[in-house]
Every structure is written in structure tokens, then in C-alpha cells.
Symmetry: C2
Subunit: 543 residues, 2 copies
């Protein structure tokens, strides 16, 4: 197989290479697409990779890196360099499809040990070579671009071992280059059976280190917590030295330095190992519920009341807004079924009604009680129980929706997701404002859901599809995206709930955080990375 640009961005396992009937129907209805539109190959990216920019590191430097890591762990091929030049933000995917990899790293390095990383950083710090740590590279924030070239330090090849599962403490210590499924499977199979409970949409293609560095959240974070809540201890190798925190259950030893590295996006150093909280894996106890609400307002109010009721927390907890709900029904061919008619008869109308998915994890009696209490609260807000099945079905395809990205782009449809966190009192207003902004576009399909829920607020996650403006794809997208982030920012939403900042959201950071906060972050970077070599060039809005 040729080393094409397409090989870089295409999912490895070929799921969802084509669009199913429901999506085709939706695109025809919304965008007036004809059958011909589905047959085009748009910016297919199937040219062989040829980088214009050669590796610019001196031979001496490369020799020293080879001496450290072994020649087999240094790759300067065009494919390795192009694939380690960026992540999967929409603008990056466009560039890959156009074959425009303009600032690739000079080398990809796969260190074998922490000692090797220390030596690599010493060399790079001395010779002013950029170092960008990389895991699964599923960044959607331009967090992994390599504008200054240098080294892409890939941890997935050798840093993928579980170092300890401690059943007494209920913790696992793991190297950060391990992928989600390998980590989770080993936990499931260890001793009495454990789970990390961290299942981001990118689960199959992301690593533990990426979860921590980009401050992610899993689909069941409402119960298991965001990665912020799961990390007990870590080891970080920085140009200035090593920081290793301890696995105390809590502490008042000055401020919590773990929290300085969670979300540091590779700008401060390389997180090589982390100790995470784990829980007993009890799939047999998992309970499921699904509800339909008359509108988004009553569904969110129900979520809020459930979170504030003092009844424990659901695990998966999710509502789709009316368009996302209707889209799901359409794709599943549910429209005009008997159930659809029955729901309409009951007052749950398409275009207004909203789906809610719920699971509860833990002890058996606990999960049953929580489910019972959730049902009661949901009903009091007009929620109609539609059984276990919709939630179970959603879980079976929980990682799949991302796979639509490629076949949609293949036919010239722009698709992106943008997410935010917001307090309850601003949520409906923010949702309304963002939809209004997005829907100003001539042909666009805008869906939203809430998928991470807290006592004090929730996230909002927007997905949009729209035909690309051919020939001006990038400018068009960037302009649309800028207005979207402005709308979120001006309506009280955070710049991100779990994707991170990267370079895509960096321009908003100073206005969001304030000058003093940015200065404090820069001072931290300047101390740990005095040469400015760690993921340099604007990530987080830092120098």
C-alpha cells in the first residue's frame, strides 16, 4: 500500500467507510444533494506523500539520538514525519487531504526508557530543537502541530505497560503511551476485575498520556470523574528536571502540582507515567434507562434535578437536543413507525422531543435505587420511559459517530464538533445563541447534546454538517469556527470542556484567562522549559 496522505487521516479499521441510507437521506433533504454528489471523491488525499522540507537536523545530532534510542527507534521517512506533523482538527484534515504538510518534524523518535527521554531532552535543550510529545494523536485542537519542526516524541511504541495494579489501594500505575482499549482490557482481566471508567469518544485511538495532557473526559465521567479527578500521581520529565508526585489519597502539601500538568498539553514536559484511581468492574450490575422528554428545557431541568437530588450519580448521562434526537430517529428509520406515532399522540413531537440515555454503575442494590430515583425525577419533568434498549444500542456504537467524518469529507461535507462547559443558569441561553449563530449559514445541519453532567452545570457539545465552499474550504471553515467560538465565549461558555486548547483556541486565551493568569502560566513554562522547546509555537496561547 502506498504511503498516501489518506493513510494518515483514515481510521485504521475501515469501519464506516461509506454512508448508510439514513445519512444519505438526511443529506439529500437538507442539502439538496443528488446521487451524483455521493459519487464524487473530493480532496481524497490519495497522493503519495512527498515532503518538500527535508530533515534539517545536523548529522551529528541524529547520530547522538541514534546512539541513545537505537536506529530502529528513529524515523525520518516522509510518512513518519507527515503523520507526526499534526492531529485531526478539521483544518488539519483539510491540509492533509490537500497534501500540504508544510512544517513537519525533522524526526520521529520512539524512546524506550525514561532515561532515554532525559538524554533526548538534554540534547534538544542544548541545541534548541523543538520536542512535541505524542500519543494517539487524536487532538482536535491543533495541539500537535510542529511549526518549529524538531522531534515528534512518540510514546506509543515503548511506553505502553501497566506497571502496577494495586488492588488494596484501588489504583493502577501505567505508562502514558498505552492506548485506551489495551489499558482497559488489562484492568478488566486483572485480579478481581477493575475499570478505569474513562471512555472518551477517542478511546480506541487515544492514550492515557493524551487524556491527561489534554485534560479529557470520558463518556461516563458523570460517575467516574474527569481525568482531573482520576490522576493521583505522575512522573514528568522536563528540561529543568523531573517532577514526581506521590499517590496520597489527598494532601495539603502546598498546592497540587498534578493539576499543573493535567491540561499542560506537552508544553511543560513529558508525562511518562501516571497513577490513576480505578474501580471494581461490575458490568453485571450496570442498569440502563432511556427517556424521551417533550423539549430540551424539561430534559435539562430533569438532569439538573437529578444531579442535585443527593441520590448518587448516573454513569452515562446524556441528552440529545431536538435536532440530534430527530436525526437519530431518521437514521434509524424510526420516523412514522408505530412508536413514533404513539409518542406524537402522547405529545412528544418531532423537532421538540429529546432523548435521554442513562446508565448507573456500582453495587447492585445501589444501581437499582439510583435508577429508580432517576426515573421518578425524570417523570416529574414529563420524561417518558422508553426502556433499556435505546441506551444499550447507543453504547454498542458509542465510538462510531466519529467515523462519519471521513466519508462526509469525501463528498465535500464539512463536519466538526465544538464543545463547552457552562453553569446551569446560562445553559439554555448559550444553546440557543450557538444554534442561532450556526444556523445562519445557508445549508447546515446543527445538532447538540449534553454528555457530562455536574451538580453546578454541564457541557454542551455541538456537531454541524455543511457543504464545503469549494476552493475556499479552509478560509470558510476558519471564519465559521471563529464566529462559533466567539458566540460561546460571549455567552458564558468555557472555551473547552474536554478537547483542550491547542493552537485552535489559543487566540481566545488571554481574553478568557486575563493577562496575569497567562503570565503565571508562561512563567511556569519558562521555569520548566527555559529554552522554549516543549511543544512550542502557540499551544495554550503560550510562547
Amino acid at each position: 500500500m502506498k504511503n498516501t496522505y489518506r493513510k494518515i487521516f483514515k481510521w485504521g479499521d475501515k469501519r464506516e467507510e461509506s454512508l448508510d441510507k439514513g445519512i444519505v437521506k438526511l443529506l439529500k433533504e437538507k442539502f439538496d444533494f443528488s446521487d451524483k454528489d455521493f459519487r464524487q471523491h473530493y480532496l481524497f488525499g490519495d497522493e503519495e506523500i512527498t515532503l518538500r522540507k527535508a530533515c534539517s537536523l545536523p548529522g551529528d545530532t541524529i547520530n547522538r539520538l541514534v546512539a541513545i534510542c537505537g536506529a530502529e527507534n528513529i524515523d525520518k521517512s516522509d510518512y513518519a514525519r507527515a503523520s507526526h506533523a499534526m492531529g485531526y482538527f478539521f483544518s488539519e484534515l483539510l491540509l492533509l487531504r490537500k497534501g500540504e504538510v508544510n512544517t513537519p518534524p525533522d524526526l520521529v523518535v520512539y524512546p524506550r526508557t525514561e532515561e532515554e527521554i532525559i538524554q533526548i531532552l538534554q540534547i534538544c535543550n542544548k541545541e534548541n530543537i523543538a520536542v512535541t510529545p505524542m500519543g494517539g494523536r487524536s487532538s482536535v485542537t491543533r495541539g500537535l502541530e510542529t511549526p518549529k519542526g524538531g522531534i515528534s516524541l512518540d510514546l506509543t511504541r515503548h511506553f505502553n505497560k501497566i506497571l502496577e495494579v494495586n488492588e488494596i489501594n484501588s489504583t493502577a500505575t501505567v505508562e502514558t503511551g498505552v492506548y485506551g482499549p489495551a489499558f482497559e482490557k488489562q484492568l478488566n482481566n486483572f485480579g478481581k476485575g477493575y475499570t478505569c471508567g474513562h471512555f472518551p469518544q477517542s478511546f480506541e485511538y487515544s492514550t492515557v498520556g493524551g487524556w491527561v495532557a489534554a485534560r479529557g473526559a470520558g463518556q461516563e465521567s458523570t460517575y467516574y470523574g474527569k481525568i482531573d479527578d482520576l490522576v493521583l500521581a505522575m512522573k514528568v520529565i522536563t528540561p529543568a528536571g523531573i517532577i514526581e508526585t506521590k499517590d496520597y489519597p489527598a494532601s495539603a502539601e502546598a498546592w497540587d502540582l498534578n493539576k499543573t500538568f493535567i491540561g499542560s498539553e506537552g508544553c511543560l514536559g513529558i508525562i511518562t507515567r501516571v497513577t490513576l484511581k480505578i474501580k471494581r468492574w461490575r458490568p453485571q450490575n450496570k442498569t440502563f434507562a432511556s427517556f424521551i422528554f417533550k423539549n430540551f428545557e424539561s430534559a435539562t431541568e430533569s438532569m439538573r434535578n437529578i444531579m442535585q437530588a443527593g441520590i448518587g450519580k448516573p454513569s452515562l448521562f446524556r441528552i440529545s437536543d431536538p435536532v440530534e434526537t430527530a436525526t437519530g430517529f431518521k437514521i434509524k428509520g424510526f420516523e412514522n413507525s408505530f412508536s413514533d406515532k404513539f409518542l406524537r399522540f402522547l405529545g412528544y413531537h418531532s423537532g421538540e422531543r429529546c432523548l435521554m440515555f442513562v446508565t448507573v454503575d456500582g453495587d447492585k442494590e445501589y444501581t437499582h435505587l439510583i435508577k429508580k430515583k432517576i426515573k421518578k425525577i425524570a417523570r416529574s419533568e414529563g420524561g417518558f420511559s422508553i426502556g433499556r434498549k435505546p441506551t444499550k444500542e447507543w453504547l454498542e456504537q458509542r465510538y462510531s459517530s466519529a467515523y462519519l467524518r471521513d466519508p462526509l469529507m469525501d463528498i465535500g461535507v464539512m463536519t466538526d464538533t465544538v464543545e463547552t462547559a457552562v453553569s446551569w443558569d446560562k445553559l439554555i441561553n448559550l444553546w440557543t445563541a450557538v444554534r442561532a449563530y450556526l444556523e445562519k449559514r445557508e445549508k447546515v445541519h446543527v445538532m447538540a447534546h449534553i454528555s457530562h453532567v455536574y451538580e453546578t452545570g454541564a457541557n454542551l457539545y455541538f456537531t454541524f454538517l455543511s457543504p464545503m465552499k469549494k476552493g475556499k474550504e479552509l478560509e470558510d471553515y476558519l471564519q465559521y469556527h471563529k464566529g462559533l467560538v466567539d458566540t460561546i465565549h460571549n455567552n458564558g461558555g468555557s472555551l473547552t470542556h474536554h478537547h483542550g486548547i491547542g493552537r485552535a483556541l489559543a487566540p481566545w486565551m488571554e481574553d478568557e484567562m486575563g493577562k496575569t493568569a497567562m503570565g503565571l502560566m508562561q512563567a511556569s513554562k519558562d521555569y520548566l522549559d527555559p529554552g522554549g522547546i516543549m511543544n512550542p509555537g502557540g499551544t495554550l496561547g503560550l510562547r
Copy 2:
């Protein structure tokens, strides 16, 4: 009433001015005290305060401060300066009792507004005047000493308002100088009724700002969380500028700067307001349980199993070790009662048995289920249920044990508490090692409890009483304390779980954190406080 040193350290409400019969009996038994020993007044501190060191600030500077805050909010009296020269660590209490206030602040200032604080910091930064922010001053870590004089900035007079209770978001925004009881009472009485759930031992005499700055924990933190978990947003005024974080329920906007100020102990700036999570106050739903275990090992194992069972969490969750359990029974006159005999008949022997206190908060059905599940797990580890009463009684006097400090010191008994956090797998070993160290002393009474419990570990809280070495009280104490902290540090315990570091534990910080971590913290301070004026002189091990 004369302004004596005693007035500074004596509790305001005169509870527990004398020792009750049970304590007297204990001291006689353990330390061979005679009635005469109880009649002495040892280092009573009832001399009138006269400071040798006069206010050394230039008249011009004072005039400018008066122009900012008003003359009534600037106090240079000896009493004000002496009372704002330190906290209540054992060594500080000794110094107060001896009338040795050698480095008082030059002035006590009570700013009225954030704008005034900004102006004060500008003046102090320019003129290199130390600023130590103060709340309830209940520090037990030498966190509030003023070795460089300067200004003690007291927030309790004017920064004591609740700015907003947001019932939609379940949050309260509050000025940081408010005391615990005033804050909690206003929450209880607001709207549907709320609670912060944060009840440290110092509750009555500590402020919200102190909780945050010293990274504290309340007695019910197992359910409500440590202060780290409660803070959503804050405003901090630093010499370099203002940092104001937002009340998002969660975020991935770089790293969490709230966590840099929680535990900063006044070294980075002045936290003027915080937004805290609150919960519905449902005292009518609170359930209570008490158990007795055959030994400390089975009691801790039961705690661990309860925390890891996936059944939700108790609120108050506490076990006393055998000596603390026996001491409580002795003080209450329980020894040789019918119940005592019955317990012994069942195999729960004095000197081995351990008390457990449990409450559960939340929804009514939820609390009943959690209590039922806890009972089941406790029983499986040999726990014998002794009803609601012991826990209820403990709660009624929950803040009182601290009041024993003064009457004990009045008769020459040294008493101190030292606490740590540790993972489950090291807990019993640490408890054993610390007791062994403490009990090497000739006459000493050593008690311990666990009071903050996590899935991955717990705290350990040690209390000791011992006759002072008269004439060498301070040296003796400091030597004993040093060995105690060394023992904790060498056996895998954190330097502190919730008291903080201050100057008392600063000497261990570099060994505990490592040089790079200390450098990172110093760099953060150097950026925010370039003149080194904020609580200077060694707190947290920083310059």
C-alpha cells in the same frame, strides 16, 4: 479587661476552661499527677502585652494607608500587633505564654474593598513591606508568623458577606473573611436551605479564605469533599495583578489555576472571594450508625471495603484507634459499666477495640440504603453495631476537643496533633511506626483516628499529651515533633492531609517534593510576587 497574652490564645467563649473528671483521672493514672499538679498555673500568659519592637513603618506610609482604609481600619496597638503575629501552633502558644512576640507586624490593616487591597499591595510592593493575609488565624503550622514584620491584612472585619447564593447552579459566592458558622447559617436559611458541608475542627474560628489558602478538609469531607473539591472559582489579588477564574462546572482550558491558589497559604496573593459548590441541607435525612470493632486492623479494613464497594459514600466517617477509643470510654465513665462488660464478653476488649462513627447525608432513601450497606460490610469485618447514639453524641461536641488545649497547657501538659494522608497499603505500618516513635517518650498518652476517607487511602490523625520539660519546653517539643514528622515522612505518609505546611513543615518540603517541584513553585511566586512581600520568610519552603 487587661490586654494580656492569654487573651490572644484563649478561646473566646470560655468553654472547657477546666478539665473534667475523666481527664483528671487519666492524667493521674498516666503521668502520676497529684492534686497539687492540677492547681498550678504554668506559663499562664497573664502579663499585659508590651512589645519591644515598635512599628517601624515611616509616618508617610502609614498616612497613605490611613488615606486608603480610614484610620479606624489601621491598628498599631500592641494588642492588635501581637495577636496578628502568629497562629496557634504549639510552639507559638508557648511563645505567647512566655510573652515572647519578637517579630510582630508593624500594623494590622482591615481593608474594606478589593480596590483598597489593590492599593495597599501597590504601596507595599513599592516599599518592600511584607503583607500577610489573615482570617481566623487558627493556623497550626506557623503559617501566619510575621518574621519580616510589615502588615497583617485582616479580612474578617469587612470581607464577610455572602455575595450570591445561586440556587440554580447550587453555588455560593462569598467573601473570604467570613467565619464558618456565619456562612453556614446563612446558607441553611437561604431559599430551600443549603449547606457547604465543610466543617473543619476549627469551624467556629476559621474563615472560608483560610480553608482555601491552607487546603483544609471538614469532618464530613468523605462525602462533601475537601476544599479542593468545593472551589469552583475565585478572585485573587496579587502584586502582579488580578486573577479571576470562572464558575464553569469543569473545563479543559489549559491547567486549573484554582488549584494553584488552593494551598498557596498567602504566598501568592490575597484570595478575596470564592465560589463554592453547595448542597441542599437535609438534616432530617441524616442517618447515623456506630460500630465497635475488635481491633484497628479490622476497622480500617472495613472502612476500605466500604469506600471501594460502589455504594456511595458516608458523610462523617471516623474510627478511633484502641487508645483513643479507651480514652473516650474512660472520660465518659463507661469503663466497667454493664455495656463494657457485655462488649468484653463478646470479645471486644479494651485496649484493642475501636469505635467507628458514621453518618450518611442526602436523599432519604439513598441515606437509608447506604447505611444498610455500610452495616452489612462492617458486620462482615466483625463490626458490632452500637446504635445511633455514640455518633450523635460525638457530633454534639464535635468542635470541643480542641478546647482541652488551654487547660492542659495551664498545668504544664504539652498537647499537639499531627496528621498525614497515606495509601491503604501503607496505613497500618505508618500507624504502628508513629505510635512506636511517640511512645518512646517516658510519659506520654498517644491517640489516633482516621477521619477523612477515600477509595485509595485515608488520613491518620495523631494526638499526644505529655508533661512538658519545664524550662526547656520549646526545645523539647521541637525535637519530639521533628522525630515525629521524620517518622511519618520515612514511612510513606504525606507531610499533611489538611493542616497545611506553613513554616513548621517547610524544612521537609524539598525532600518531599524534589528540587524541580520547589523551583516551579518558587517561579510561580516570583512571577506573582516579584518583590517577595506576600507572607514571606519560609512558608511552604519558599523564599
